[in-house]
Symmetry: C2
Subunit: 330 residues, 2 copies
């Protein structure tokens, strides 16, 4: 079994589901802007996780498809709004929504996807999932949405702060990235008909691979190639972002090296030579290795949680996805 087959397996179904729900949106400009990023393609990691989790419990793809689509819409909504906030011009190899249309339509497209996501989950046929179960799924997704906003606001509030601590960083990435992945696996478990114990385990699985996913993002920003990354390597250093790697290096560095690193992070004009110096320091204090280890531990712990599931191809797929989080190059 190959992770790319596993992840690509449901993309067509998920896309059709999303297209079906967005096809009623008017005016046309809003419909096009709402569907644009989904059409541009994406890994569909979160909705695939929801479906695979449901299947691993013995549920059907059909029952999980609505919830899965809704979760992808929430992910897409957050990308559209984040791109406005960060003024990012490109997304998925194409101009971002607020560049193709304008900020107003981009804000509205995000809001529409958000609204549609809830509409879709609420309208899951009641013969498939009980109303009470549906409320737990909805509550999980709504809670993840609050956390996404809080995480993004925390990330923004870290700008210009160089004393961010490990726990603060972990809390931020849990909210910004991991909460929705955990909501995907939890909601998948619920619509799959899992017991409380399994639902909790699947939330924790999602939370752990979500943390590893974000740490890997931070790692790839430093060690990947521009081709694979689709953006300049070391951009987090240039922007002075506090990641787990930088936090660790600042913690371990000698006063002199700490000063050098801080100067580069704070600089308004960071040269490639500066980035190289910073990279050497991150390496010198084992910060890159440390981040990889933390991520690896999360992945191992996540895989252990899967022992609660009966053996199946879907369970294997969840194991592969956990590993994929750290194997991916982009």
């Amino acid at each position: 079994m190959n992770v790319n087959d596993v992840l690509g397996n449901y993309n067509k179904d998920i896309f059709s589901e999303i297209e079906k729900y967005l096809s009623t949106i008017t005016p046309d400009s809003l419909q096009e802007a709402s569907l644009y990023l989904t059409k541009a393609g994406g890994k569909m990691l979160r909705p695939s996780l929801a479906i695979i989790t449901a299947e691993a419990i013995g549920g059907s793809k059909q029952n999980a498809l609505g919830t899965a689509g809704a979760i992808e819409l929430i992910h897409t909504f957050s990308l559209i709004h984040d791109d406005i906030m960060d003024d990012d011009d490109m997304r998925r190899g194409k101009p971002s929504v607020h560049k193709v249309w304008d900020e107003g339509i981009a804000i509205l497209a995000g809001d529409t996807l958000f609204s549609k996501a809830f509409e879709i989950i609420i309208n899951t046929p009641q013969e498939e999932v009980s109303a009470a179960q549906l409320n737990v799924a909805l509550s999980t997704v709504a809670d993840a949405c609050v956390k996404i906003c809080e995480g993004q606001a925390s990330d923004i509030s870290f700008e210009g702060r160089y004393d961010v601590e490990f726990d603060e960083y972990m809390e931020m990435i849990f909210k910004k990235t991991s909460a929705l992945i955990a909501a995907a696996t939890k909601a998948g478990a619920i619509v799959g008909g899992a017991s409380e114990e399994v639902i909790d385990a699947m939330y924790e699985y999602g939370r752990l691979i979500g943390l590893a996913f974000q740490i890997q993002d931070d790692y790839l920003d430093l060690v990947s190639s521009e081709d694979e990354l689709g953006k300049p390597v070391g951009s987090d250093i240039v922007e002075g972002k506090m990641t787990i790697i930088v936090i660790k290096a600042l913690e371990e560095a000698s006063p002199e090296d700490k000063e050098t690193l801080l100067k580069i992070l704070k600089s308004e004009e960071t040269s490639q030579a500066d980035v190289d110096v910073a990279m050497d320091l991150l390496d010198k204090y084992g910060a890159l290795e440390y981040a990889r280890n933390v991520a690896q531990e999360n992945v191992e712990e996540a895989k252990k949680l899967l022992e609660i599931l009966p053996d199946s191809e879907s369970k294997q797929a969840l194991e592969l996805i956990a590993d994929f989080v750290l194997e991916r190059k982009s």
Copy 2:
């Protein structure tokens, strides 16, 4: 009974409910930005309608308070995002959220309120309202959110178009303004424990007074005073907005007068003299009176729907609110 007492009656309770739910938001900047507009004060028409409707059916304020608060949060979210899109500097007599903070935080504050709104409704205690009923309420609110976005996008798409027809305009204001008011009365009816028939009647009541509310807004823009309005009178003429009044006048006017009116609407630099000429034309063709009549008919029809309710002070309050929609000066 006085409509101001009726409307002000629950504001403190609604505010406390909202404050309670927003008090857990972190970081502080996001919490402050999320609570700011609610603190700035507002009529709280929508949440009051939800509570009064629940009470008119025999339900309790306590059961309706969460849903009411959620609906006010959705209204506030839409104001914050609209102000960014329209670049409106002031709201409720204070600088708008994106002026006090920035666009990024304003987008996030709106998104947070949106997420919280769903979280609040979902977490309505199940001993008060059944899970199935709650899903209907949620579905109504989610549907209203989609409509708000669609209505705002339609309104934007009308810019530069001078052939907007009556039906298009009514559809736009239904979505932009009326859908959430209808969701408020419908959700109030649901949490109050109403029958299907009463729930439908209360949705229709909300829809009709919502339409009248928006038509009155368009009317006040032309006939109010700057003091009462808090913005220049005739700003819709200056901005060339298509309202029911302008649509009617363009429909009725002689070719010559139509040309004059269109020229003023299309002009990039509209003088006070131009506004006066336009006003005379709107008056000449009975467009102001026509709009008032349409609004009045909606209000009368809405009040007739209340006959389905048993006599009570809450029913009286709903009658007063229907009249208030057209009596208000700001």
